[in-house]
């Protein structure tokens, strides 16, 4: 057995390649760790241990034959259950897709397979990626391994916890308004939302298409860099995929930060920021300064409108995207007895749509569909949707202006540490306001990451967010690695070998 708590993506790949360990041993250690800790955490929704071990055996055979080995050979990776994998149940955390078995692979899954990663299973999330705590999953909550009475953040809570509790050392999530960065901050792991279009969305269950982006979590900055190198790059099957060269992200992790100009925006240290979060983040910025980074104050004046703009744009797109979940081509279908003839010829069809969607969607998804339908409806489109897209453009301009003076911008990832389960489920607006620091980078389409800094006095993880201009991921990794060096990754006690 391998003590996964003492490994990283790079060390596992290295030990497999050198023959020091086998893929089967790695896979068995992964299954053992999941079985030991996930009962109390619930990071995984679907696992197929047999298929997982079979893939490991195949890889061992290939190595024995001297066949080629990919960049992630022998590395187990957990997948957020909003990415489809051929033949593997993919629920999106929703009743409406509870029994859905997709007939194709998402591009990122295809690329992980091609790099010889071992797919460890599908992880829990807020239903259809809508939420900030993983409490909106139709299949139960995921718990934070640092304090099981608290949420892990969301919506990619399962993928964050799989990594935090060292069940896998890397995972994939998706981030529409902070769904990778905020759970990374809450669980003490590294997570990146790449530039919009950097990673293919083909096979990602769509939430808000102008914001959705797939990205990695890992126990180390380098681990995530390697996974991103594998999954990033142009994909003709996604019309918004960028045809730009994938950088040497892992190599960038060792580069010097000396001379980099880093902006600290006043607007991200305003009312509502918990003092322990501010203190830890400012301490990390001071350490960057000691490393030779030039720290400057910057202003992003439209930040305070990000929550309103985001919840208009994202729900509008969601209401349109989710129209496809209607019981016809896949997923749940609920047919009630046909109504009488009085209702007109299409009544039975409409009743099927309505009953299917009512039974299939949870409250948060319905809330967002209705809000999105409202902001797009006749008479309100200009005042809400069009206005929000214009405010979005102003938020993007704020970043353009700031990046004329600095190379990167740093801030807290979230205003608080992980909040208790149940704390915000009855107050949707309070839940939305917690996303205030992650939404602007999503609206601007720029890359942003959360890297752990020193924990709060009560031991809860805190994340520093790093934002850089579009396609400057290498700089993001350079800075993140420097922050990591001053606050090395911590492992929650529950994940340590017994």
């Amino acid at each position: 057995m391998i003590a996964l708590a003492r490994e990283s993506v790079g060390s596992l790949a290295g030990r497999f390649r050198s023959g020091e360990t086998s893929a089967v041993e790695i896979a068995e250690s992964t299954v053992a760790q999941v079985e030991r800790v996930d009962g109390g955490l619930h990071a995984f929704l679907t696992r197929d241990a047999e298929a997982f071990l079979a893939a490991a055996r195949e890889l061992d055979d290939r190595r024995a034959r001297g066949g080629p080995l990919g960049k992630l050979a022998g590395v187990p990776v957990a997948i957020k259950d909003t990415l489809v994998a051929r033949g593997v149940r993919t629920t999106g955390g929703s009743r409406i897709l509870e029994h859905y078995v997709p007939p194709y692979d998402a591009t990122v899954i295809e690329r992980l397979r091609a790099a010889d990663a071992l797919l460890a299973g599908k992880t829990n999330l807020d239903e259809l990626a809508m939420g900030s705590s993983t409490e909106h999953s139709a299949f139960g909550v995921t718990r934070n391994p640092w304090d099981v009475s608290r949420c892990p953040g969301g919506s990619s809570g399962g993928s964050a916890v799989a990594v935090a509790a060292r069940m896998t050392l890397a995972s994939l999530g998706s981030d529409t308004g902070g769904s990778i960065r905020q759970p990374a901050a809450f669980t003490g792991v590294f997570g990146v939302k790449p530039t919009y279009g950097r990673v293919s969305r083909y096979g990602l269950i769509a939430f808000a298409s102008s914001l959705d982006q797939v990205g990695p979590f890992a126990t180390s900055v380098r681990g995530a860099a390697r996974v991103l190198e594998v999954v990033a790059g142009h994909d003709p099957r996604d019309a918004t995929s960028l045809d730009a060269r994938v950088g040497d992200y892992e190599g960038a992790c060792g580069a010097s930060v000396r001379g980099l100009r880093v902006g600290v925006p006043d607007e991200y240290f305003a009312r509502g920021l918990a003092p322990e979060v501010e203190e830890a983040v400012r301490a990390a910025i001071r350490r960057l300064e000691q490393d030779g980074v030039e720290v400057k104050r910057v202003s992003l004046p439209h930040t305070r409108h990000a929550v309103a703009a985001y919840y208009v744009v994202a729900t509008a797109e969601a209401s349109s995207n989710l129209a496809r979940l209607d019981g016809v081509r896949y997923g749940l279908r609920v047919e009630k007895a046909a109504p009488g003839r009085t209702g007109g010829v299409a009544e039975a069809l409409k009743a099927m749509y309505g009953a299917t969607r009512d039974a299939g969607f949870g409250a948060e998804v319905k809330r967002r569909i209705l809000l999105g339908t409202f902001v797009l409806s006749a008479g309100y489109y200009d005042a809400y949707y069009r206005k929000a897209t214009a405010v979005r453009a102003l938020i993007r301009r704020d970043f353009d202006r700031a990046f004329a003076e600095v190379d990167a911008i740093v801030s807290p990832t979230a205003p608080t540490t992980a909040f208790p389960l149940g704390d915000r489920t009855d107050d949707p607006l309070a839940m939305y306001l917690g996303d205030v620091y992650t939404l602007p980078a999503s609206l601007a389409g720029i890359p942003a990451a959360s890297v752990p800094v020193e924990p709060s006095p009560d031991g809860l993880p805190i994340g520093l967010q790093i934002m850089v201009p579009a396609l400057h991921e290498p700089r993001l990794f350079t800075l993140a690695a420097a922050v990591e060096a001053s606050a090395p990754p911590r492992v929650p006690p529950v994940a340590l070998p017994a």
């Binding site: 003709p236 016809v328 309100y380 214009a390």
Partner: protein
């Protein structure tokens, strides 16, 4: 512009547009949530966006996406495409009838 009152009638109208059947209890609680959320996003109305040309709201980043060649790609087989559906016929996805026997001929005639 004044937002609607978000009473039961408004929610029922939106639910019909969104093909959602809601129970009474759900409709009441969603009306309450929508009132609070829309009252919050009202702040957008006060932001001066007069300097933003329409073009500026079209793309997410300034990096232009790439074109792909306009060639056929193998897709799913019919069997794969139909494999996830709750009801199918040999020809495709099956849905409850939406043309009456009397109007079917007419409907077929309209292309």
């Amino acid at each position: 512009m004044q937002p609607p009152a978000f009473d039961r009638a408004t929610v029922d109208h939106l639910a019909a547009l969104a093909a959602l059947s809601l129970s009474d209890r759900e409709a009441e609680s969603l009306a309450r949530d929508l009132r609070a959320i829309v009252a919050y996003v009202e702040e957008l109305g006060a932001v001066d966006t007069s300097e933003v040309p329409g073009d500026d709201t079209r793309d997410v980043t300034s990096v232009a996406p790439a074109w792909r060649p306009d060639v056929l790609d193998p897709g799913l087989t019919r069997e794969e495409a139909l494999g996830g559906a709750a009801r199918t016929t040999e020809a495709g996805f099956a849905v409850p009838g939406f043309v009456s026997a009397g109007s079917a001929g007419t409907a077929r005639g309209v292309r």
